[in-house]
Subunit: 278 residues, 2 copies
């Protein structure tokens, strides 16, 4: 089509992302509790990142060491940012009961200092186990800029939106247990690095995520009192799926297909930095 | 390498992004004005987005109508965000002279209302000319989430860093005239949509960018008074190149190679939405 003149064709595409939710709202009526929960879950069915091709490769044993390292290295930035996200949310909450409930998420990630490892430490046991230097991982040097932009967008989201939207954005946890199960089984089946240490993060989250999300889901169902609130919650959850998806798109582009590593980003051993020339 | 056991190899990679600048600083000495300007320009030589493969395709007439539409649609979000970026910067400046100087950037984009089109209107003449509906473009529906995350990161950067860093991040304009020349020539050579209307944005920027950047460069060279200031400016400019690069990575991934369009994003006519299945 190059050089084809691009005849002007006015076009008005429906926003397909919103179509399902809006249909299920039957105009501007408030959805019932069941309809609303169904609309939230439909977002996961449609665009949670377990659908992303990168995860099929990761969980199917199709990635090499350097590609798994790149994933774990970049995902570490998400892990260390989650407590900042949760504290940003809490800093804007006026209800002590909600803050008290939410605090355990921070402790889950940071650890309580009583000898049981928190989520960040567990993730570092994974990066240890796949041959990444801890100092390099925690320096955050080498992560993809797109990882930083997506994760920071999530922190900024909860810092600027309503508490209801911030809580709704956490509801990707509704869909997380299934992907953690797949990951544990895939890692055990295909990768020799799988052991109690490297899998401990995912096994722990199988316990933690359902507790977190049962509170978060009830909060959202109880507090979305208008059609507008419900739409905001759906948009917030959709936004969060986009944050997760964009991280995998960037990994896939840099390290799988076409394998264009951006200037300055992590280059696994055995891969050569992508050459860009004028 | 799947299943290969991933033997642990501690690794300490130098941060290659910083290597050149740090070498040129000879330790922690303040660079001379010439050395500092050279270090700033070296970032452009190394990682300005004229090096990105997407631009080689765009300027070489290798993209089809839908791919050019995807580029122009996404880039529109950058265009409409630049005045917000500049006003965010200005809102934090205490020197009226600097605010007065910076204001013309906003007017360049927004237009002065006296009949001459601003940059946003000029960009819409481009999207008109390649067959995109204005209402759809300005709705911002269909842009890639990664575009939004990268552009918003830029706005947040100037809202949270020092004025010096904010000004330094604008210095990609040092490298812009060359790419605008390439684009004008490439479009004229290869695409039938090229005409005075669709090229007016780029032609105008050939006049505006040198004026903007001569002020910005002098400001940075004058106000980076310590080695730390100089390093902050280099980091800010590098950050900005990453904002630009990440936008092209996302476009390339979605619409060129491997051509995985994220759920909900723009699907050009003639392309089918990427199917993702569990």
């Amino acid at each position: 089509m190059a050089g084809g003149g691009f005849p002007r064709v006015p076009r008005t595409r429906p926003d397909r992302r919103r179509a399902d939710a809006e249909l299920s709202r039957k105009g501007a009526d408030r959805m019932t509790r069941e309809e609303f929960e169904g609309a939230l879950r439909a977002i996961g069915a449609r665009q949670y990142h377990d659908l992303h091709p990168f995860h099929a490769l990761l969980h199917g044993g199709k990635l090499n060491k350097g590609q798994v390292q790149a994933w774990a290295l970049n995902r570490f930035y998400y892990q260390v940012s989650i407590p900042r996200k949760d504290l940003t949310l809490m800093s804007r909450v006026t209800d002590p009961a909600l803050r008290r409930e939410w605090m355990h998420r921070v402790l889950d990630h940071d650890g309580t200092g009583d000898g049981s490892a928190g989520g960040i430490e567990r993730w570092l046991r994974l990066t240890d186990g796949i041959g990444l230097d801890r100092g390099y991982v925690t320096s955050l040097k080498g992560i993809l800029p797109a990882t930083r932009f997506a994760v920071d967008a999530y922190v900024n989201f909860v810092g600027t939106r309503t508490t209801l939207e911030a809580v709704a954005s956490s509801l990707t946890e509704l869909f997380a247990p299934a992907i953690h199960e797949q990951r544990i089984h895939g890692f055990e089946a295909y990768y020799a690095f799988a052991n109690d240490a490297t899998l401990s993060y995912f096994r722990k989250r199988l316990d933690q995520a359902p507790r977190d999300v049962s509170f978060g889901l009830a909060y959202v169902l109880d507090n979305a009192r208008t059609p507008e609130h419900q739409q905001q919650c759906l948009d917030a959850l959709r936004f969060k799926t986009e944050v997760l998806w964009a991280q995998l798109d960037a990994l896939h582009h840099a390290y799988v297909d076409p394998g264009h590593i951006p200037p300055g980003a992590f280059v696994p051993e055995g891969m050569t930095p992508t050459e860009y020339a004028r």
